[in-house]
Symmetry: C2
Subunit: 87 residues, 2 copies
């Protein structure tokens, strides 16, 4: 089954309190050298059919209207192998 | 500045109510053909220094102890170009 990943992140100009909280906690926990942290969402969609242009256009529309709030968030859509051995 | 991305997702055997809520909403909104949705977190870390093995080991430790709850979540660490034109 094909997997499509939609990443949703706050736009760079939008304040990210979640990311800031993480960033501020890091030195306390002994982690140095991180200049900035942004936190966002990752959606993994398993498609029933093939990942063709029509399916990707549909997912793009879905991300735009439903998964992301495009006033304050940016999103990216990318295809990933379902059998990804990365994890 | 170098960017490292940490993706945190619930383990496959753990119930994901957020993802299920998204999946159930899709047909109502006119989107068909999505068999499964999983929702997770994406952290973008901007490093002050270079992304060498020591930095990645540090980030791996950070993800393991702080960003992810490894009892119920899996994570991946990967390097990304900060000037990524994908978005």
């Amino acid at each position: 089954m094909a997997r499509v990943v939609v990443d949703v992140m706050l736009k760079p100009e939008i304040l990210d309190p979640q990311g800031q909280a993480v960033q501020r906690a890091l030195p306390r926990l002994g982690f140095q050298g991180i200049a900035d942290v942004r936190q966002g969402k990752r959606f993994e969609l398993e498609l029933e059919g093939p990942v063709d242009e029509a399916a990707l256009a549909e997912i793009h529309k879905m991300a735009e209207t439903f998964l992301a709030n495009t006033v304050i968030e940016d999103f990216t859509v990318r295809v990933e192998d379902a059998g990804d051995g990365e994890r």
